[in-house]
């Protein structure tokens, strides 16, 4: 164990460089650059608010805040796992030629998206001013929510990165799965109706919904359930563990398949 921590510490500058590279290249040659990470969620939230608020008649004042919280968290999960999924194949040239700890590729892909996500959280301020929502002491719910989200995303990312080396189909299958997870996470509708029906388990056992609901309870000021506090943590840690073990076991075979 110590060997791994030492190895990681020795190479932390490389991880930093890979993360920065992701951020720099994402917004290179766009005029607004990193400001896009703020504008984009605001614009999509406006669209979603018009569609699901105005047209579908959700007249709640804080509906935009409800949507933007879910959307920000889900889109980090989406971009992070997609990036990790492709990471080993995308860096095939480098993997074949120089030695870099292989988990750096999925990890850096997720971390750079995490930094963009962290920056984009700024948009919660103008949105809550617009909806006249005052933050309370419950804002601390955001901290576990964000930690769980990161852990779960890294775990999923490691699993997907490994699978995608052996089966290219995963990249496409995962896009479909993401769409399914999005609809199952109550991003732009209220979950009450579904929770009362026989389909409540879709939300209850979906870690993404639990994480998003935990974050929302902090921002929109409602009490948190033990379930939301514990289930996504355990789910995330187990996913991370599986991801690490699976990745480690298969990483020496990568080079034969890419």
């Amino acid at each position: 164990m110590m060997v791994y921590i030492k190895g990681f510490w020795k190479r932390r500058f490389l991880l930093y460089e890979l993360v920065i590279k992701g951020i720099r290249l994402k917004y290179r040659r766009s005029y607004l650059g990193i400001i896009w990470s703020l504008i984009e969620p605001i614009l999509t939230t406006i669209v979603l608010t018009i569609v699901f608020g105005t047209l579908f008649g959700n007249k709640n004042r804080d509906f935009p805040l409800y949507i933007i919280t879910g959307r920000l968290m889900f889109s980090f999960f989406q971009e992070g796992t997609k990036n990790a999924c492709k990471s080993i194949r995308a860096n095939a040239g480098m993997i074949k030629k120089v030695y870099v700890p292989k988990y750096f590729y999925p990890l850096s892909g997720i971390l750079f998206n995490f930094i963009i996500f962290a920056i984009s959280l700024i948009v919660l301020f103008p949105t809550s001013i617009y909806t006249k929502t005052v933050p309370t002491h419950r804002i601390w719910h955001l901290i576990p929510a964000i930690c769980y989200l990161l852990v779960f995303t890294i775990g999923m990312g490691m699993i997907l990165a490994t699978l995608n080396v052996f089966f290219r189909d995963i990249e496409y299958l995962w896009n479909v799965a993401l769409l399914m997870i999005m609809y199952m996470s109550a991003i732009f509708y209220y979950p009450e109706k579904l929770l009362k029906s026989g389909w409540f388990w879709i939300l209850k056992y979906n870690p993404m919904f639990c994480i998003i609901d935990l974050a929302r309870s902090g921002i929109l000021n409602y009490s948190v359930t033990w379930w939301n506090l514990l289930y996504p943590m355990i789910f995330g840690l187990v996913t991370l563990l599986i991801g690490i073990v699976f990745f480690r076991k298969k990483q020496d075979e990568f080079i034969l398949h890419i």
């Binding site: 190479r11 500058f13 040239g93 089966f167 034969l256």
Partner: protein, 247 residues
């Protein structure tokens, strides 16, 4: 020249699967399982039971015909491949001049790439800061520091790669016929830099097809034939064997 062991290769074997039907889609995999068809697995041993030890300051020339496993051996020592069997131990800083610029990003400028590639090679930021000007000057790219690499010629790219790789004072230098970088003038310069490194008691692993070059640089030789060590010893003994092999 009895000294500390620098590189130790013990019973290293390296297996590749050259399966004629490479399964990388889920459909093929499922069909394969359902029909119970055995995946045709052509195993190919690129290295078989290779062992040798180098002491600090040894300069080893690795000789062999095409496909003998020379580059695979170097990559295994550099850490790119993990050997299927056996063990490789090495001491000190390695400068692998295997594939110059393998860590380059084409959208990045030279300045950004120096930091990125430096990090790939295991340098830290402070070290790169101190060597930055040296690297640019050696690669003769003063005018192009902030130009994206995609606009570089291939000669410029390999000059930059060479300059970054050789910015360290390595303990072990791995050379894969890279002495022919750039134009004649730069080649002289790069050769001089490598010869200067020899003076610092560096361990060298050098792959070349030119026996003449190997004889002039190396004190030890290793002949690989279809992945196996055919001969290992001082270069004076190895050279005639290789000459006989190739004639």
């Amino acid at each position: 020249m009895a000294g500390k062991v620098s590189v130790k290769v013990e019973n290293v074997s390296m297996k590749f699967s050259l399966s004629s039907e490479k399964v990388d889609s889920l459909k093929e995999y499922v069909i394969g399982i359902l029909t119970g068809k055995q995946m045709a697995k052509d195993e190919f041993w690129a290295l078989k039971n290779v062992s040798f030890t180098l002491e600090k300051g040894d300069r080893l020339g690795i000789l062999g015909l095409n496909g003998a496993g020379k580059s695979t051996l170097l990559k295994a020592i550099a850490g790119v491949y993990r050997p299927t069997e056996g063990k490789i131990t090495k001491k000190g800083v390695i400068a692998p001049l295997l594939e110059l610029g393998a860590g380059f990003d084409m959208q990045y400028t030279a300045r950004e790439n120096i930091y990125l590639y430096g990090a790939v090679l295991g340098y830290n930021r402070k070290f790169i800061d101190t060597k930055f000007d040296d690297i640019i000057r050696f690669a003769e790219l003063e005018k192009f520091v902030d130009v994206p690499l995609k606009n570089y010629s291939s000669g410029m790219k390999s000059r930059l790669g060479f300059a970054i790789c050789t910015a360290v004072e390595p303990d072990i230098l791995i050379l894969d016929e890279v002495l022919s970088v750039g134009d004649a003038k730069f080649r002289k310069k790069s050769e001089k830099r490598i010869i200067d490194m020899f003076a610092h008691n560096v361990t060298v692993l050098f792959v070349s097809h030119s026996l003449e070059q190997v004889c002039s640089i190396c004190n030890k030789g290793l002949i690989l034939d279809h992945g196996e060590v055919k001969a290992f010893g001082s270069i004076d003994k190895i050279a005639p064997i290789y000459e006989e092999m190739t004639s």
